[in-house]
Amino acid sequence: MDKKLTFQEIILKLERYWSDKGCLLMNAYDTEKGAGTMSPYTFLRSLGPEPWNAAYVEPSRRPADGRYGQNPNRLYQHHQFQLVMKPSPMEIQDLYLKSLEVLGINPLDHDIRFVEDNWENPSLGCAGLGWEVWLDGMEVTQFTYFQVVGGLEVDSVTVELTYGLERLASYIQDVDSVYDIEWTKGVKYGEIFTEPEYEHSVYSFEESNLEMLFEQLKAYEKEALHLIDLGLVHPAYDYVLKCSHIFNLIDARGAVSATERPDYLRRIRNMARKIAKAFLNERAKRDFPLLKEDTAKWVEKYSLKEEAK
């Protein structure tokens, strides 16, 4: 680690590496979301038998984590480097460790561990098993084998690697605050993000128009349900993402009473489940275009599943 990689070099190296491994390089999805998992490139694509290998950087917004640009580790918006592969390759751990070496992290100089961590996203009805990967005691990656997505048990397992880019970069660059990370030579993270971090914190904690947000939540939910009924999977999912973000904004104001919280989460989860099923139907109708073999078998299997319902 003699030459310290900049933030964007880290992204470029990871993109190059996973691209060489045959992954699609996607772009961040353009609707606000709390985690890379919520991108349709992970959530929807991890459903069904079609192979899917993709990598992308996902700026993830968590209104309640905003700290007015003052806390060295907590951010309103952080960046995840997301990698998904379906079916999960047997050599995925080795592939992952090589990606760290590409970033100049020689495992012999460090303590790298796979510590059990089972991941769950109740609002999307997702659950998986895996690890958090520790680099000298710091959690740098969430490593998950998806078992259930949108409430459906998977047939082909997606493995998801979520690299916390700010953490990795502050480790690689040996800085104590994310704001001191060099994004590129001569430009610091703080010089780009301190202001939006501050403003979004003010907005999320103090200035958001709750009345408007509650109305939006209602309207978006209605729209999502309507679109689900029409079988318009992707627009429907966009509205679920919007609902989720609006919910997080309301939550950051402490305006969701504990009593109402489970109900909101349940409503979002139910929509995500319906969308998961609808997505599978649509892909089956299209004969699972990304499937290279056994198409007939899978199409039949999913049509049977559909009839059984």
């Binding site: 038998p49 806390n71 060295p72 580790n73 079916p87 999960s88 390759p89 047997m90 751990q93 460790l97 495992p107 012999l108 100089d109 460090h110 303590d111 790298i112 561990r113 796979f114 510590v115 059990e116 089972n118 098993l129 690890w131 680099l135 000298d136 005691g137 710091m138 084998y145 078992q147 998977v154 047939d155 082909s156 397992v157 493995v159 480790y171 104590d176 402490g254 009473s257 504990a258 009593t259 919280r261 489970p262 109900d263």
Partner: protein, 692 residues
């Protein structure tokens, strides 16, 4: 000639808490398999690391043991006709056993001659049988299994390699599409290439050469020794008494190397328990205390999975992480200091206990009333009662503190520390700090009276609320851990060792505490469910903590008292008497009485004027004398002794008198006499449940 058998399962990093069990199960299942297959061996050694579990079996026989069995066929007179010719029955028997009639022999059994065939089963070569070890590997059970890739297999983590050797020969089979081989793998980083094991006996030595200490105990010992060296050098208290942490780091490493890191002493202003939780639970570091002062020091001991290359760099990396974590912890602690109890309680008005059961603040209000009732039951001084009620006013406030939000495992504990820090009476602080105990079925109990009572009040309220709302655990479905809480109540009650009339008190709580109408109605509906549920926990407690047999537990449960402490005591006391020679006949006498009284619906009164025989008078006398000695404070099972001591009088009574005689007056008077006795017996236990 004997052989060495080796079976190693190599997989992706297993959860630390799954490893020991996997190792033990493999050893057990392989031993069971060999025994079942009649393959002899002398001993089994087992191994495990995060990436593997293995067994090595010594002196394994070359062949299965041969077996001789003898099978009985039809009687001779059926097997042969008068001329001694074999019948169809005999031929059928022989063919069925894979033999011919020439193999038939005769033997006498209970005065009759039968046909027999001796069978000899030749043992097969062990190597051939060992292929069936393929069934053993998938049979190992884990708490959580997963699927991977496109397979439908379920296992703790994907399997990557399998070594199965009989000396130097590979035992060929497959598990989850992975074929066995003789290639194992060393440390993930220190020795990344796979290597050949030429002979099963060399297993752990070869692994050592490839930087894997596969013998779990040795690995643990290596960690302990390294830590002890550090401790000695620095005059610290040996932190390896944190046994679960020691076990965990043993299961997180294949080649452990210990290092010391430090943090800014300024963080020591935060409570030790917060710092220790951060170090131990979050980072798996051993916290360090001075051997002289017992004070927590700004150092920690970490265990790396690797050698000492760049160990300073590893230590520095870890220091950075703990510094950020402790900075967070201190920040939260400081934020909490700015908040008053009133503000926290206002926040509790927003925090749901359950979405159908109101808020945590409502719960505090109820528990304040419940502890008042308990204060009377336990004869608290007015001062202690005041402390207890005050504790109940604030005992849940730490739930909305920043520190508990970050360190959820410290709920209760932090509340206690905060109370102390805020100048509450130490008794108040202790009660709050202990109210969450016990946190597991056999976890530590509160060790103060006020802590015990607050804990009981909290748990009784939870049980009452959930049951009354119809949210009752079924089967393995117990999302609110009500079983654990009910068990907590039983254990605390027994620990307090004073009258604890659980059911009566529950009724009193429902009567006196302000509850919603819905809950009161629900209690009427589900009261019996709750009582049965608590009673089951009591039975479970007696079974697990005193290892008493089922019939004694049932007998004790059947007693009239609602004092659960007394019920436990009765079970223990009955068990003590069971070993005495006269116990059996005594119980028979009591049961004889109960068998008659239980069929009688009407209650009769004894009239001495109707006694006809001496034995009636004697029994009556004996009961009167029992009555005289009977009181509620009898210790050590004296009441059981009193009941049993009437056995001779009862026996005489039955010998001399018929109960069910024609004469109604006489009959009713005799029943009355028995009922008189039964009343005392039933108060103690249901003696009818005892199996003798």
């Amino acid at each position: 000639m004997t052989h060495t058998l080796l079976l190693e399962v190599g997989l992706e990093e297993m959860p630390a808490n799954a490893i020991v069990s996997a190792e033990q199960q493999l050893a057990q299942k392989v031993a069971d398999f060999l025994t079942k297959e009649r393959i002899h061996f002398s001993k089994v050694e087992s191994f495990s690391t995060p990436r593997r579990f293995a067994v090595k079996v010594f002196d394994v026989s070359d062949q299965q043991e041969d077996v001789k069995t003898i099978v009985r066929g039809p009687a001779r007179q059926i097997a042969q006709d008068a001329e001694g010719n074999w019948t169809k029955a005999a031929i059928g028997f022989a063919t069925g056993q894979g033999a011919s009639v020439e193999d038939i022999i005769f033997k006498e059994e209970t005065g009759k001659e039968y046909t027999y065939i001796e069978k000899f089963i030749q043992g097969k070569p062990s190597l051939e049988i060992l292929k069936d070890l393929r069934e053993v590997v998938p049979a190992i059970e884990f708490k959580k299994n997963m699927k991977w890739s496109t397979t439908s297999y379920q296992y703790v983590r994907p399997i990557h390699w399998l070594v199965a050797l009989f000396d130097d020969q590979i035992i060929p089979f497959e598990v989850f599409d992975i074929p066995t081989c003789n290639k194992s793998r060393g440390h993930r980083f220190l020795s990344p290439d796979s290597f050949e094991i030429n002979h099963a006996k060399d297993y752990e030595q070869l692994l050592m050469e490839h930087k894997v200490n596969a013998c779990r105990n040795e690995r643990k010992e290596a960690i302990v020794q390294q830590i002890e060296a550090l401790v000695e050098e620095n005059n610290w208290i040996d932190p390896t008494h944190h046994t679960s942490l020691l076990e965990e780091v043993t299961d997180l490493t294949e080649w452990p190397t210990v290092f010391v890191g430090q943090f800014d002493p300024a963080f020591l202003e935060v409570f030790d328990v917060i710092l220790e939780t951060s170090m131990m639970n979050h980072q798996r570091y051993f916290p360090v205390r001075s051997a002289d002062t017992n004070e927590l020091l700004p150092y920690f001991i970490g265990v790396r999975n690797g050698d000492d290359r760049n160990i300073e760099g590893v230590a520095q990396g870890n220091e950075k992480v703990i510094a950020a974590r402790l900075a967070d912890a201190r920040f939260f602690y400081k934020e909490d200091q700015k908040i008053t109890y009133k503000e926290w309680n206002d926040k509790l008005k927003q925090l749901a206990f359950h979405d159908r059961l109101g808020t945590i603040y409502d719960k505090e209000l109820r528990v304040q009333q419940i502890v008042k009732i308990l204060s009377q039951k336990f004869h608290l001084s007015p001062e202690d009662e005041m402390h207890l009620v005050h504790a109940a006013e604030i005992y849940k406030t730490d739930l909305v503190s920043e520190v508990v939000n970050e360190f959820t495992e410290l709920q209760g504990v932090i509340g206690g520390h905060y109370a102390y820090e805020r100048g509450e009476d130490p008794k108040v602080a202790e009660a709050i700090g202990q109210h969450y105990l016990p946190i597991s079925t056999d976890g530590a109990l509160p060790d103060t009276l006020l802590g015990s009572l607050l804990s009981v009040a909290d748990k009784l309220d939870t049980l009452l609320q959930f049951f009354s709302a119809g949210m009752i655990p079924t089967g393995s479905n117990d999302p609110f851990a009500l079983r654990r809480q009910a068990m907590g109540v039983v254990r605390i009650a027994v620990n307090l060792d004073q009258t604890f009339s659980l059911v009566d008190w529950l009724d009193e709580i429902v009567e006196k505490v302000s509850l919603t109408e819905e809950i009161v109605r629900g209690y009427d509906k589900h009261r019996n469910d709750l009582i049965a549920f608590l009673d089951d926990r009591l039975a479970q407690y007696i079974k697990e903590h005193h290892q008493l047999p089922y019939d004694i537990i049932q007998a004790a449960r059947g007693g009239k008292t609602s004092d659960i402490v007394e019920k436990v005591n009765i079970a223990i006391q009955i068990d003590k008497r069971r070993k005495m020679s006269e116990f059996k006949s005594q119980i028979q006498s009591v049961k004889r009485v109960l068998n008659i009284t239980k069929t009688q619906e009407q209650q009769f009164d004894v009239d001495v004027n109707f006694f006809e025989t001496d034995s009636e008078k004697d029994l009556h006398q004996a009961i009167l004398s029992l009555k005289e000695q009977w009181n509620n404070n009898m210790k050590d099972g004296k009441h059981i002794d009193l009941i049993l001591s009437l056995s001779p009088q009862i026996d005489n009574f039955f010998e001399e008198n018929m109960v069910m005689v024609e004469d109604t007056l006489l009959r009713n008077n005799r029943i009355a006499l028995l009922q008189y006795f039964a009343k005392y017996a039933q108060e103690v236990a249901d003696f009818n449940e005892l199996v003798i």
